[in-house]
C-alpha cells in the first residue's frame, strides 16, 4: 500500500518510459540493418541484460513491467517486419532448416499474448506449400511416364509426404516445445487432403480399383494409407459409396424388370434380387477380409452401405417381405430353389446376415410366421431340420423372444403328429365312434400362430360327425381347453365320380363343402349355395371361381362366363375328365400383405406405448426430445419408429392420463402415477 508508492510514482514510471524510448530508438535502427536472427539475438541479449540489471540495482517488482516494456518495443512493435523479412524471416528460416533460430523465435514470442499466432500461420503455409509442390511433382511425373508403372509415383509421393510429416513433427517438438498451436497446424488435415486427391483420381483412384475388381491394388492402397493418421477414412468412405451405388442399382434393375414383366411370373424378379444382394455381400465381405485386413472401419462401411439399399421397396413389397418370401422358397417343397442340404444351410446363414441390415425386423417376423404357417399346415415344409436351423440362427441374432412363437409353431406340429397317433388308437378302441371318414386333426396353440378368422361354415353332415368325434376324444385328453375350428386351413380328398372315370380331387374344406352340396341337388343357384353354406360373398366368389372358371372345371356354370355373378347357376360337371387320377384344385390365397402390415402397425403402437411408459416411469420427468430419442433407441432392435407415430402415442397417453405436460414448459412431460 503505502510502501512502494514513492518508488513507483517518482522513479519507476520515469525509468520505464525512458527505457521504452531507448529501445524504441534502438529497434528502429536494428530492424533496418539486421537480419532476423541477428535482431533476435540482440533482443535476447537485451532482455537478459535488463533482467540482470533488475537483480543488481532495482526492486524485484519492476522485473515484469520492465521486461514487458522491452518486449513490446523490440518484438511486438516490429513483429510483422521481423517475421516477414525476405531473406532471413520466418519463412527463410524454415526453408533453410534453421532450428536454433526458430527455437529462439519461439522462446521470444511465446511470452507475448498471441505472439505465436503469426509464427504458427507461417509454419502452416510453409508446410502446405511444400506438400502441394510434392503432389504436383508426382502428378507431372506420372503423366509423363509410361503407364506401366502407375502405382509407383503414388507410392513415392506417399512416402515423401510421410517424410515431410515426420520432419515437421521434429520441428514441433524441438523448436516449438510441442505447443498445441503448432500441433494443430501440422499435417493430419494436410495428409488427408492429399490422400483424397490421390484417391479420387479418375482412372487409378480408389473408385476405379473397386470398379475393376483390382483386389491386389486395393490391398496395397490399404497398406499405404494406414500409415497416415486417419488416412483410411476416405478409403472407407469411397468403399461405402461404391457398394451403396451397386446395391441401389440392383434394386432399381429389379424394380424395372418387375414392372415390365408379364404378370404370370410375379415375384421372380424379387427373388433374383435377393440372390444378387447375397452375392454382392459375399463379394464385398471378401474385400474387407482380403484387402482391408478386417479393419473395423471397413466392416462399418459395408454395414452402413447395406443398410441403405436393403430397406428399399420393390414393386410394392418391402424388403422384409422379400426376404421372408425368399426363405419360404428355400424351405418349402418344390420351391424355386432346388439345392442340396448343405447349400440350403449356407444360404440360410447368408439370409440371416442380410436380415441384420433390415430395419423392419418385426415386419419380417410377421411375414415369416404367416408363410411358416402355410408350410407347416399344408405339409409343404421340405425339411424340419432346416426350419429349426434358421430359427436358431435368428434367435442368435435377435434373442429368444423374436423366435419363440415360431418355435412354438414347429413344436405344435410335432405334438400334433403324436396326438394324431393317439386319436387313431382311440378310434380303433371305439369303433362305434368312427365317423366313417379318415380324419386328421392338427391342434394349434393359439398364441403362437397368426390369427385366423373363423367362420360359421355350415358343414356337410359327414364332416359334422368328424368334428364331434374328435371333440369327444380331445376331452378325454385334456380339460379346460376350448377348440375353435378353422376350416379355411383344412384339406379334403374327395372322389369325384365323373362319367369317364373317378378322379380323386384334393381340395380345401370349403371347396369340399360346396361340392358335397351337389350330392343332394343337381343344380344350385348362387344364392342357394350361399344360404346353405353361410359364407361371405367374397369367399364364395373365390370358391366358385376355382371350381367352375379355372383350369379344372368340376362344376359347370350357367351362363358360361369367365367370372362369377350372383345370378349364376351351377351343376356338377359329369363330363369332366383328366389324364391324371388325382388332381389338386388350387384355391388362390387371399393377399395377406395388407393384413400383415396392419397387424404389425398395431403391434408397433403397443410397443411404442410400452416403451414410452417404461421410460417415463423410471425418469418421472423428461424433455420431449430426449423422450423421443430414448424411445427410438429402445425400439431400434425391432423396427425404426416413425417420429410422428411416437408423437401420436404420446398424445394418446396424455388423453389416457398416463402423462401430462408441465404447466410452465410444454416441452416437458411428467409421468402420472
Amino acid at each position: 500500500m503505502g510502501q512502494m508508492v514513492r518508488y513507483e510514482d517518482d522513479f519507476e514510471a520515469d525509468m520505464l518510459e525512458d527505457t521504452g524510448a531507448y529501445y524504441s530508438r534502438k529497434a528502429s535502427s536494428w530492424i533496418e540493418d539486421d537480419s532476423c536472427p541477428d535482431y533476435m539475438l540482440k533482443s535476447e541479449e537485451c532482455l537478459k541484460k535488463e533482467r540482470d540489471r533488475v537483480s543488481h540495482y532495482l526492486h524485484s517488482s519492476s522485473e515484469t513491467k520492465l521486461l514487458e516494456k522491452v518486449q513490446h518495443e523490440l518484438l511486438v512493435m516490429y513483429a510483422n517486419r521481423l517475421l516477414e523479412k525476405e531473406h532471413s524471416g520466418c519463412r527463410a528460416l524454415l526453408r533453410d532448416d534453421k532450428l536454433e533460430d526458430l527455437s529462439r523465435m519461439y522462446r521470444l514470442y511465446c511470452k507475448i499474448p498471441r505472439g505465436l499466432d503469426p509464427v504458427a500461420n507461417i509454419f502452416k503455409q510453409h508446410i502446405t506449400a511444400e506438400g502441394t509442390a510434392l503432389v504436383e511433382q508426382a502428378e507431372d511425373a506420372a503423366s509423363n511416364q509410361a503407364s506401366n508403372a502407375p502405382g509407383v509415383q503414388e507410392q513415392d509421393l506417399i512416402s515423401k509426404i510421410i517424410k515431410l510429416h515426420n520432419k515437421y513433427i521434429v520441428y514441433v517438438t524441438r523448436c516449438f516445445q510441442n505447443h498445441t498451436l503448432f500441433h494443430k497446424k501440422v499435417p493430419h488435415e494436410l495428409l488427408v487432403m492429399y490422400a483424397n486427391r490421390l484417391l479420387e483420381k479418375e482412372h487409378s483412384g480408389c473408385r476405379a480399383l473397386l470398379r475393376d475388381d483390382k483386389l491386389e491394388d486395393l490391398s496395397s492402397k490399404y497398406w499405404l494409407y494406414c500409415k497416415i493418421p486417419q488416412g483410411l477414412d476416405p478409403v472407407a468412405n469411397i468403399f461405402k459409396q461404391h457398394i451403396t451405388a451397386e446395391g441401389t442399382a440392383l434394386v432399381e434393375q429389379a424394380e424395372d424388370a418387375a414392372s415390365n414383366q408379364a404378370s404370370n411370373a410375379p415375384g421372380v424378379q424379387e427373388q433374383v434380387l435377393i440372390r444378387k444382394i447375397i452375392e454382392l455381400h459375399d463379394k464385398y465381405m471378401e474385400y474387407v477380409t482380403r484387402c482391408f485386413q478386417n479393419h473395423t472401419l471397413f466392416h462399418k462401411a459395408l454395414k452402413e452401405a447395406f443398410e441403405v439399399f436393403c430397406n428399399k421397396t420393390v414393386s410394392g413389397s418391402s424388403s422384409a417381405e422379400l426376404l421372408a418370401t425368399f426363405c419360404d422358397n428355400i424351405l418349402k417343397k418344390g420351391g424355386s430353389e432346388k439345392l442340396s442340404d448343405e447349400a440350403i444351410e449356407e444360404t440360410l446363414e447368408k439370409v440371416v446376415k442380410l436380415f441384420a441390415y433390415i430395419s423392419d425386423k418385426d415386419l419380417f417376423a410377421e411375414f415369416y410366421r404367416k408363410k411358416l404357417a402355410r408350410r407347416l399346415l399344408f405339409d409343404r415344409s421340405a425339411n424340419d431340420d432346416h426350419e429349426r436351423s434358421i430359427l436358431t440362427k435368428l434367435k442368435e441374432q435377435c434373442g429368444g423372444q423374436f423366435t419363440s412363437k415360431m418355435e412354438g409353431m414347429v413344436t405344435d406340429l410335432t405334438l400334433a403328429r403324436e396326438n394324431q397317433a393317439s386319436f387313431e388308437d382311440y378310434l380303433r378302441n371305439n369303433p362305434a365312434a368312427h365317423p366313417g371318414i379318415d380324419l386328421t386333426v392338427t391342434v394349434l396353440t393359439t398364441g403362437f400362430w397368426p390369427s385366423y378368422k373363423s367362420f360359421d361354415l355350415n358343414l356337410p353332415a359327414e364332416m359334422v360327425k368328424c368334428v364331434e368325434v374328435f371333440k369327444g376324444f380331445y376331452e378325454t385328453e385334456t380339460k379346460h381347453r376350448k377348440l375353435t375350428w378353422i376350416y379355411s386351413l383344412g384339406t379334403c380328398h374327395i372322389n369325384g365320380k365323373f362319367e369317364e372315370k373317378t378322379i380323386e380331387l384334393i381340395v380345401s374344406t370349403y371347396q369340399a363343402a360346396v361340392l358335397l352340396l351337389f350330392n343332394a341337388s343337381d343344380r344350385l343357384s348362387y344364392s342357394e349355395i350361399m344360404a346353405q353354406l353361410n359364407l361371405t360373398h367374397d369367399d364364395l366368389v373365390r370358391l366358385l371361381h376355382s371350381l367352375a372358371c379355372a383350369k379344372y372345371k368340376i362344376l359347370s356354370k350357367e351362363p358360361n362366363t369367365k367370372t362369377i355373378s350372383q345370378s349364376d347357376y351351377f351343376e356338377f360337371n359329369s363330363k369332366f375328365t383328366d389324364k391324371l387320377r388325382r388332381i389338386k384344385i388350387p384355391l388362390p390365397p387371399v393377399d395377406e400383405r395388407k393384413k400383415v402390415v396392419e397387424d404389425v402397425d398395431k403391434d408397433r403402437r403397443y410397443a411404442i406405448d410400452a416403451a414410452i411408459v417404461r421410460i417415463m416411469k423410471s425418469r418421472k420427468v423428461l424433455g420431449h426430445q430426449q423422450l423421443v430419442s430414448e424411445c427410438v433407441e429402445q425400439l431400434s432392435r425391432m423396427f425404426k419408429p416413425d417420429i410422428k407415430a411416437i408423437k401420436k402415442r404420446m398424445e394418446d397417453l396424455i388423453t389416457r392420463d398416463y402423462l401430462e405436460r408441465d404447466k410452465d414448459n410444454p416441452n416437458l412431460f411428467r409421468y402420472l402415477a
Partner: protein, 254 residues
C-alpha cells in the same frame, strides 16, 4: 348515510351503482379499503362471503324465471329466454364467459348451483345488474390470463358428457368464436385443414396447445420449432400450410 361526509357519500353511491351491491355492502367494502374506491372494488370482488350476502331471494326469483318446468335445471328454452332478457345473441361469446363464471359442466344447461355460483361471483341479483355486467364480461376476454382460462374451460364445457374428445364441428365453431376475439390470422386455414385432412374429434391436449401455438408462433411460422413437442396435428397443419403455398418465404399469402 347521513353521518358520512359528502366525499364518502359520493363514493358509496358510485360503488353501489357500479357493483350493484347494497348500501350496507358498499359501506363495508369502502371501510375495509379505507375509502379508496379501487381498493373497495377488489375487496368486493374477492370476498365470497360478502357476496353470499347478496340477496339469495332475488337469485331464487331469477332462477325460477328460467328453470325448466319439469326439472330442477335451466335448459335450452330457459337459456333462450335469458338471452332475450339480456338482449344478447345465444351464440354470443359472452355466454361462454358467463358459463365460465358458473363453472358450468356442459353447454345448454345450468344447474341451480351453477347458476347461483355464477351470479354471485359476478355480483348479480337482478336482471338490470345482469345487463350491466355484460360489458365487464366482454372486457374479461382481453385479459391474457383470463382468456386462457376461458379458452381451456370451453373444451370441457363444449364436449359431450362422457366423451374425452371434442367433436370436430363443435370445436371449429368454438374456435371461430374464440379467435374472433383473439385475432389469430390462421384460424380459417386451421379450420379448413381440419375438415380436409383430419375429420376426427379433437383431444384436450391439441385444444390447449393450439392456443399456445397461436400465442407464441408468429403467423409466418418463422419461429416454429419442428423438433418441438407440438401435437402432431399442429405439425401436420404446418406441413399443410407449406404444401399449399400459404406460407412462402415467411410470408402469409392468401
Amino acid at each position: 348515510m347521513h353521518k358520512l361526509g359528502r366525499g364518502h357519500r359520493d363514493k358509496v353511491q358510485q360503488f353501489m351503482t357500479i357493483t350493484g351491491a347494497s348500501e350496507k355492502i358498499a359501506l363495508q367494502a369502502l371501510k375495509a379499503s379505507d375509502w379508496h374506491l379501487e381498493g373497495a372494488f377488489d375487496v368486493f370482488y374477492n370476498q365470497p362471503h360478502i357476496k353470499s350476502y347478496t340477496d339469495t331471494r332475488y337469485l331464487e326469483e331469477l332462477y325460477n324465471r328460467y328453470k325448466d318446468p319439469y326439472t330442477d335445471m335451466i335448459l335450452a328454452d330457459g337459456i333462450t329466454l335469458l338471452c332475450n332478457d339480456l338482449q344478447v345473441d345465444p351464440q354470443d361469446i359472452v355466454m361462454l364467459v358467463l358459463s365460465w363464471h358458473m363453472k358450468a359442466a356442459t353447454m345448454c344447461e345450468y344447474s341451480k348451483q351453477e347458476f347461483f355460483i355464477g351470479l354471485q361471483a359476478l355480483g348479480i341479483d337482478s336482471l338490470e345488474k345482469f345487463r350491466e355486467r355484460i360489458s365487464f364480461m366482454r372486457a374479461e376476454l382481453k385479459d391474457e390470463q383470463k382468456f386462457r382460462e376461458i379458452y381451456n374451460f370451453a373444451f370441457g364445457w363444449a364436449k359431450e358428457k362422457g366423451q374425452k374428445s371434442l367433436a370436430l364441428d363443435t370445436a371449429i365453431g368454438m374456435w371461430q368464436l374464440l379467435f374472433a376475439e383473439k385475432q389469430w390470422p390462421l384460424v380459417d386455414h386451421w379450420c379448413q385443414f381440419l375438415q380436409a385432412r383430419h375429420n376426427k374429434a379433437i383431444s384436450r391436449d391439441t385444444w390447449s396447445q393450439l392456443l399456445e401455438f397461436a400465442r407464441t408462433v408468429d403467423p409466418a411460422l418463422s419461429n416454429y420449432d419442428a423438433e418441438g413437442a407440438w401435437p402432431y396435428l399442429i405439425d401436420e397443419f404446418v406441413e399443410y400450410l407449406n404444401e399449399n403455398g400459404i406460407i412462402q418465404n415467411g410470408e402469409v399469402s392468401d
